[in-house]
């Protein structure tokens, strides 16, 4: 490689030298990510194997996933720092110099809307709401399914509005505090009003989560950088406004207001929550609005509702119902549409069906043995995974970049400085996002699902997930009776398996007389303490949740990028590690509270309200610098690593204790983060103040000039 140096002389960087530089650079960057990713992975594995005592399934795929996550995170973070953030900052610097305020506000609105559509968190929200039952929360079900596009639009409008507000704030040099004093109480008031509305009450969790979930790993660093550049030039007001922060804060708060308002408008169309029998009965014509059409409603009822509710739909005519189900079972695509997969259908027959069903579809159950075992690996398509994640990475990064670059070249008529570096950064950001998105699906999320579905075992007895067993050639003569201390009789039998004899309680329902098969699911737990739901077990789960939240946060790329930015802006007075630690502790505490909320069925608002009230007070006493950083860090906590883990744990526990949905944990994590960062700020400021005041205020009378004279 030949390059000209400053004096026009040529100097060489030999390819060996260049290679050594690249190697050192790559090694250093990978080592950083390896440390944080291995932290969370090893923790999950050890907990699953040592504490829960369950083996890790698909270990090979998980290993591959981990490698992808590490490489992907390394590339993505570098891409953020080299490409996405410098691009954002450049546009931020040029915008106020070249454009009129009207143009700026339009750009801000478009950017906010575009950023939401680029990183739709719909998948996350849908997962969180996957266990919502239409009759228990009709409005929530409606918004998550039929009107999901409307939901995203509402969030996008919310983010757009908050971008506009932020730009006005930067131009006028206003503090973030008054905005918080208006927005947060508004959210509280709306929440309190919603508590008395049967349908909106169920929507609150989704509404509080919607904002923080939307602000994704590309959007937050981008708007952060944009804000920093923008406020350098635009700020005419106070000098201590440390510029750039606060956009993500508003973007994660304002959508809540929009979503609740949208819910209120839709609430007139849907019935109030009720039992499934009433819901599907013809006396409730409003129910049909919740679904796209009558067929979807019937299908939904078949797959999810109880038998009496299904019968209501068929005028209590059992043969008609059977005909309907038979029709579904004979059409492969219909079966997928209604039940998801063939094995789900078999499970359905097994779990829901009465004797008539079992007789009717007995032939399907016998096929169970060959389809259940090797399903996950056989149907696995690696390149499919990668391609899907590649598309979503492109969607998240490319349109926004094109928008900003077009703005820069055509509207502001500026050329991009360090263009090669920025394009390189954007490229590796896309590659990185592809890899870590795929890696998370393959490795981290799988790991999270396994731990999440097994974790309730530590505080309650539960069926081992996926552990259905069948005993061939069962003989009822082998069933014995036992007595409990109170004199109740219970039936059980002995099972000899792998040379070990265990007792298994007997339930007549599970015995299939025709084929001589007994089906059962082994039960385990509680691992800690004795009783139906043990406090000791819950404490173990909460400690687990804290550490999981803590270590997952350490690996969040957007937080890392923000930490670097904060350290940069404060010239090291606010260290990156200090911010990350404070945020990680906050997330840990938040997730711990979230678990408590799910286990004890506490409505999310009763936890959020006191914390946000506390926050307003703490905010009042904090300096502007920490308020900006603290509230913004809440938006970055909920990223691609934490969210899947939190959701699978929340849903795993919620599924066992019968919670309505998995919303709310994310917002708890966010607001606890703010508390933790602000308290740290207060502490640090106190320490500094003491440090600077150690000197006595009154100077000694010993004046130099007197002596000199």
């Amino acid at each position: 490689m030949k390059r000209k140096n400053a004096k026009g002389q040529e100097f060489k960087v030999s390819s060996a030298e260049a290679f050594r530089w690249i190697l050192r650079y790559v090694k250093q960057k990978i080592a950083e990510q390896l440390k944080v990713v291995l932290g969370i992975i090893l923790y999950l594995m050890l907990f699953q194997v040592l504490v829960l005592g369950t083996p890790i399934i698909d270990a090979g795929l998980i290993g591959l996933g981990i490698v992808m996550v590490v490489l992907g995170l390394t590339l993505f973070l570098e891409g953020l720092l080299l490409g996405i953030m410098p691009m954002g900052e450049e546009v931020g610097i040029q915008l106020p110099q070249k454009a009129k305020s009207r143009t700026i506000l339009i750009v801000a609105l478009l950017l906010g809307v575009a950023a939401t559509f680029a990183e739709p968190a719909l998948g996350v929200l849908k997962t969180a709401g996957s266990s919502v039952q239409a009759w228990r929360a009709p409005l929530l079900y409606l918004i998550l399914n039929k009107h999901s596009a409307l939901l995203i639009t509402a969030i996008a409008i919310g983010v757009g509005i908050s971008m506009v507000l932020s730009m006005i704030r930067f131009i006028k040099g206003w503090s973030l505090k008054p905005f918080l004093y208006v927005v947060v109480p508004t959210m509280m008031a709306l929440s309190i009003a919603s508590l008395f509305h049967p349908n909106l009450r169920n929507l609150l969790g989704l509404a509080w989560d919607s904002g923080s979930v939307t602000t994704g790993p590309v959007t937050v660093p981008l708007v952060l950088a944009l804000g920093i550049g923008f406020s350098h030039i635009a700020s005419q007001g106070s000098d201590d406004n440390d510029g750039g922060f606060g956009v993500a804060t508003l973007a994660s708060l304002v959508p809540m207001i929009i979503v609740i308002s949208m819910g209120f408008m839709l609430s007139f169309q849907v019935p109030v929550p009720m039992s499934d029998i009433d819901f599907f009965s013809p006396e409730n014509p409003k129910s049909e609005y919740v679904f796209r059409d009558k067929t979807e409603m019937t299908d939904y009822a078949i797959a999810n509702a109880s038998l009496p509710a299904q019968l209501v739909l068929f005028d209590n005519d059992m043969p008609r119902l059977l005909d309907y189900v038979r029709e579904i079972s004979q059409d492969e695509s219909r079966m997928h549409e209604v039940f998801g997969s063939k094995s789900k259908f078999q499970q359905w027959v097994y779990c829901y069906g009465n004797d008539e069903f079992k007789d009717e579809f007995a032939y399907m159950i016998t096929e169970e043995a060959d389809s259940g075992k090797n399903g996950s690996v056989a149907g696995f398509n690696f390149w499919g995974y990668l391609w899907r994640n590649f598309l979503s990475a492109i969607q998240a990064i490319v349109p926004l970049s094109i928008f900003l670059l077009a703005l820069l070249y055509f509207v502001l008529r500026e050329k991009l400085r360090k263009a090669d570096e920025i394009f390189f950064g954007l490229t590796i950001a896309v590659i990185g996002m592809t890899l870590f998105g795929g890696g998370i699906e393959l490795g981290l999320a799988k790991m999270g699902d396994q731990v999440g579905s097994n974790i309730p075992v530590s505080f309650m007895e539960m069926e081992v997930p996926g552990g259905q067993r069948t005993i061939q050639g069962f003989d009822e003569d082998m069933v014995y009776q036992s007595l409990t201390p109170t004199g109740d009789k219970e039936e059980f039998f002995f099972l000899n398996e792998d040379g070990k004899t265990t007792t298994i309680s007997y339930d007549k329902e599970n015995y299939d007389l025709n084929q001589g098969i007994y089906r059962y699911t082994p039960k385990r737990g509680p691992l800690f303490g004795k009783g139906r739901i043990t406090l000791l077990g819950i404490i173990v789960v909460m400690i687990f949740a804290f550490i999981m939240g803590y270590s997952a946060t350490l690996a969040e790329p957007a937080l890392s990028a923000m930490g670097i930015t904060v350290e940069d802006l404060t010239v090291g007075a606010f260290k990156k590690s200090m911010l990350i630690q404070a945020v990680a502790i906050g997330v840990g505490v938040g997730i711990m509270l979230g678990v408590a909320q799910v286990i004890w069925h506490i409505h999310i608002f009763y936890l959020l309200a006191p914390i946000y009230t506390l926050l307003l007070f703490v905010t009042h006493f904090s300096t502007e610098e920490y308020v900006n950083i603290g509230w913004d860090s809440a938006a970055v906590t909920t990223g691609p690593i934490t969210v899947p883990l939190v959701l699978s744990m929340g849903l795993g526990i919620g599924g066992q204790v019968g919670a309505i949905e998995g919303f709310g944990i994310v917002s708890l994590a966010s607001c606890c983060t703010i508390v933790s960062v602000l308290s740290m700020g207060l502490y640090v400021n106190l320490k500094r103040k003491r440090l600077l005041n150690v000197m006595p205020e009154s100077h000694s009378d010993f004046e130099a000039e007197d002596v000199a004279a």
């Binding site: 400053a6 690249i22 080299l82 440090l691």
Partner: protein
């Protein structure tokens, strides 16, 4: 045109009110660079048995502005008295001779100072030296400890980005970190050589790619000697006593012997250098440094500084600027000036201000020539 550049390094809280006062005085242009100062935490704690005392950092403002050559003493004296800078821990203030070489017309200093002279000029020291050490990001605290451990004065660390050979490497440049830390220190002239030597050996400046250190003369000033936080058992802290004796003796020469004298290696310092500082609009720095490099500047460190100015109607404007610090051979200065002039950076686009300040000596790694 000769001017005096006054700089103040004070904690953020004081900095705010000083900035307001500067405007009130009619100082039309001032700059503010954010930094951090670190002092030693000598509190007796469990961990101190095992390790070096921890560093406590606090944010500082580094305020600077230009004055007529002879106005500096009065202004320095005023601020020293007003903000009690003679008490250790309050901050430092100093002035330097600079020559403004070329300037956008916005800066043309036509300021008239409007403050009553009631200062305390006699407390100013005039035998001071400034040292700046530029190292890779992350190495700063190591260097900052040196002057604290030797009890000379409190350093202020700022951030910057290196620009030089790295920018000629194409994309390969991203493998070399550009982020730098600058440790700014003002200390007694008598300690300067010792501290410089410690900088060189501690930061390994005699190895390639480590950084550079240079010293420059200070006209007048007061330095911050509050180097540690410790519980005081006596009526006055050690720092207070030292500062009182400094005042008594009218200098710091008496402290000279307290510095450990190491057998200095014979270092090949660089002489006949000039510090060229270019202030321009944000985003123009890299391009202008490239122009300067094409006529002999070896490279630059680019820092972000905040700029506050009063326009004709005395309205306050604030914006962000870039300060490019270059150390260049004296003989190259005219060439570089010309090259910069040619880029048109003193026109409206970049609104540049170029000034030079004398450099006593500098040290960095130099490849042996064969």
């Amino acid at each position: 045109m000769k001017y005096s550049k006054v700089s103040m390094i004070v904690s953020r809280e004081i900095g705010k009110s000083i900035a307001e006062e500067l405007v009130a005085f009619g100082i039309r242009h001032h700059f503010n660079e954010i930094g951090r100062s670190s002092i030693l935490d000598r509190n007796k704690s469990f961990s101190s048995f095992f390790s070096k005392p921890a560093l406590i950092s606090y944010p500082v403002d580094i305020l600077s502005f230009f004055l007529q050559e002879d106005e500096d003493r009065a202004v320095l004296g005023y601020f020293a008295k007003k903000y009690d800078l003679r008490s250790p821990g309050k901050g430092s203030i100093f002035s330097q001779d600079v020559e403004i070489l070329n300037v956008h017309e916005d800066y043309k200093p036509k300021q008239e100072l409007s403050f009553k002279h009631n200062g305390d000029e006699s407390s100013l020291f005039s035998n001071l030296t400034g040292i700046v050490c530029v190292v890779q990001r992350g190495e700063g605290d190591k260097v900052a400890r040196i002057s604290l451990n030797y009890g000379t004065s409190v350093p202020a660390t700022t951030y910057g980005e290196g620009s030089g050979v790295r920018d000629k490497l194409g994309l390969l440049r991203i493998t070399l970190p550009a982020e730098k830390e600058l440790i700014n220190l003002v200390l007694s002239r008598h300690d300067a050589d010792a501290v410089m030597e410690l900088y060189i050996s501690e930061a390994k400046l005699d190895e390639p790619g480590r950084g550079i250190a240079y010293s420059f003369p200070i006209k007048h000033g007061i330095i911050n000697t509050k180097i540690s936080r410790s519980q005081t058992d006596s009526a006055a802290s050690v720092e207070q006593m030292v500062s009182a004796i400094d005042s008594l003796k009218g200098g710091m020469e008496w402290r000279k012997s307290s510095l450990e004298r190491e057998s200095f290696k014979r270092r090949e310092f660089l002489y006949d250098l000039v510090g060229l500082n270019l202030i321009c609009e944000e985003g123009h720095g890299t391009g202008l440094v490239e122009a300067a490099m094409s006529s002999g500047a070896p490279g630059a460190t680019i820092c972000k500084i905040r700029y506050t100015n009063l326009d004709g109607e005395m309205e306050i404007h604030r914006s962000m600027k870039e300060l490019c610090k270059m150390i260049v051979p004296e003989s190259q200065v005219p060439d570089i000036c010309e090259a910069l002039e040619k880029t048109g950076c003193f026109e409206n686009e970049a609104k540049a201000l170029l000034y030079s300040l004398p450099v006593q000596k500098a040290f960095t790694y130099r490849a042996k020539r064969y």
